[in-house]
Symmetry: C2
Subunit: 371 residues, 2 copies
């Protein structure tokens, strides 16, 4: 029997596609001794988390909770609860996460209709409109902030088209939530999921989700059981939101503590101030990167502030320079996925990683490496 | 916008069915600043966790990892990866968790054969033998330590019967692992899952799993995709165990830190010493409870040391006395589930909650309340 050495990870600055840096108060919350997941005092903490999540999503949706797993499980939760075998789902695909949605739709036994756009381009609302003239899917899904490409999706226009066609509107806000405006009620989003490790700046491990009354009705009308027991909202909601909190699974107590504290920090700063901070630091980074010969792959109108996808100048070799940034400066940035591997970087400015100091440090390190 | 008050949970002693008390070193590990989930230094931490989990499970299985969600997701992981629609699964049911297994089998589109025993009784190996004479299921599943009743399942005898019939053997060790002996290789267990919040004494949020080469072969021979994207081991293993660590989902970094430190504590104590501590404190608790008129519902041969299911004496009213324990003494014990609600208590002595002091405090508090 041999125990491993003492836990001793390096002190990094996290400027990749997530996780982002976590505030000391959130780290401290994680170290809070646990109480039981059915303790009346924990129920109060759950209620406060739900209340703060509703404010963050800008929704009155009663069914607004954190799923007990990371963002991808939030994605799966939305699809498996709304789709039954034989249903049709229309998925907008312009990056890795649209592809992942499509994969999940097929695993639900549903019929998949894809609307594809080039990686780095937004989905054209007209394409959605045309697709909906030919068929009536149960839901239309889109990624708000595509983490693989840095594209912001035009939600408002598409939402109107989707609802005119009588479908439910499902949105991925993993990277956008708490870094740019997300208005679930105003934009009539029926199912939405996010992750804690991006602009919320809590550790990865929970996926906030919210369902509109129409989505809840669709769940209640199901003829078949949800294929996932763990993610079955008809049971999970009785634990998180029922009048009598019925045991389902053991909630990850410490993760809920961390989300609680991260949400408090968000509202102490204020949402508008937070979004403005993300915009401002994105501009500072953009100016510095363009000066060094990087090119943004997304046009300004659809460019995310918190996830900067930039084409490398010919003078910079992807892997060796990222290694140098990591090993010599403790700065993590993300490489490209799929077709973009080796060609782009993804520089994250999310939550606590979105400061002038992060931008300045990163640009200075880069100048020293490539000089 | 309103932020909630400062996080301020009470300081409890957790003597229910989990979570258990968490060692200060594990809490401190949770507060460690994060590194990226693809950072080479994180890969080393993952490797150390896998290595320690193999020692804990007493297995050489390469595919031994923590699933990024709580124990119930570990259960689902084992079933959805091994079963395809049309397969037959035989499930031993003598409590809540056998029922949950049965529910999941049906959600996989597999044919369910149940072997039932009374709650509080172990499964009779002869029943399994008889059931296997009539049919050849792909797998047989059983709970090692039934958390709803306090029964220890006779794994060794049943394992032999299962393998003689050519089936895979799937075992729930959520409550047993790290509190009593679990010998995955010696007992020829093909798929096993556990949770971190019981005898491992880390916070809830991860589910250690291990798959034998035969189970991995069964996964590789699948004709259909695993119905859960999040829990699909054919992809998850490329991130946790592949030569090139391919991004799948963002691992819950802080939870992995906590498991790392909890495993170190386990091996510093030594497995045999730890099991002996659980036996000894169970005896101390048993003597005290019997003196107060409680009756164990499980015969001594099948009685779990870490989960003590006891019938209340007529002098004790379930809910009010548990409330008093919680509110006046900060001691949490569990009530009964299902048919046992209101009739039994489940007193946990798991991991860091398994000390002489916990037993003495609890018995003293109880004497004061009922005197």
């Amino acid at each position: 029997m041999t125990a491993a050495n003492q836990l001793n990870p390096p002190a990094r600055f996290l400027m990749g596609p997530g996780p982002s840096d976590v505030h000391p108060r959130v780290l401290k919350a994680m170290a809070t001794p646990l109480i039981g997941h059915l303790d009346p005092q924990f129920i109060h903490i759950m209620d406060a988390v739900k209340d703060m999540l509703r404010q963050l999503f800008k929704t009155k949706n009663e069914l607004t909770i954190p799923v007990s797993a990371t963002g991808s499980a939030g994605m799966e939760t939305c699809f498996v609860n709304l789709l039954e075998p034989g249903d049709t789902a229309l998925v907008c695909v312009n990056g890795v996460f649209g592809n992942r949605m499509s994969d999940i739709v097929e695993r639900c036994g549903a019929k998949l209709v894809r609307i594809d756009a080039a990686w780095g381009s937004p989905i054209d609302p007209d394409q959605v409109k045309q697709a909906l003239q030919k068929r009536s899917p149960k839901l239309v899904a889109i990624v708000h902030a595509e983490t693989s490409t840095g594209v912001l999706g035009p939600l408002e226009q598409i939402s109107k088209i989707v609802h005119d066609a009588g479908a439910l509107f499902l949105v991925d806000t993993v990277t956008s939530l708490a870094g740019t405006d997300v208005r679930v009620d105003d934009w009539q989003i029926d199912a939405v999921y996010s992750g804690t490790q991006k602009c919320i700046s809590a550790p990865p491990g929970l996926s906030p989700v919210s369902f509109s009354p129409a989505a809840v009705e669709a769940m209640e009308k199901r003829k078949t059981k949800v294929q996932s027991w763990y993610l079955d909202m008809t049971m999970v909601r009785n634990y998180w939101a029922g009048a009598k909190r019925v045991y389902h699974h053991t909630a990850p107590v410490s993760m809920v503590y961390s989300l609680y504290e991260a949400l408090r920090l968000i509202f102490e700063e204020g949402l508008e101030a937070r979004f403005e901070r993300h915009r401002r630091n994105h501009q500072l980074l953009r100016d510095g990167l363009e000066e060094l010969g990087f090119e943004f792959i997304v046009p300004p109108d659809y460019r995310l502030p918190m996830l900067n996808a930039v084409k490398l100048p010919p003078t910079i070799d992807d892997a060796p320079v990222r290694s140098q940034l990591l090993n010599e400066y403790n700065i993590e940035v993300g490489g490209g996925l799929g077709d973009f591997a080796g060609k782009i970087w993804r520089v994250g400015l999310m939550g606590c990683s979105c400061t002038k100091n992060h931008v300045n440090m990163f640009l200075a390190a880069l100048r020293q490496i490539i000089k």
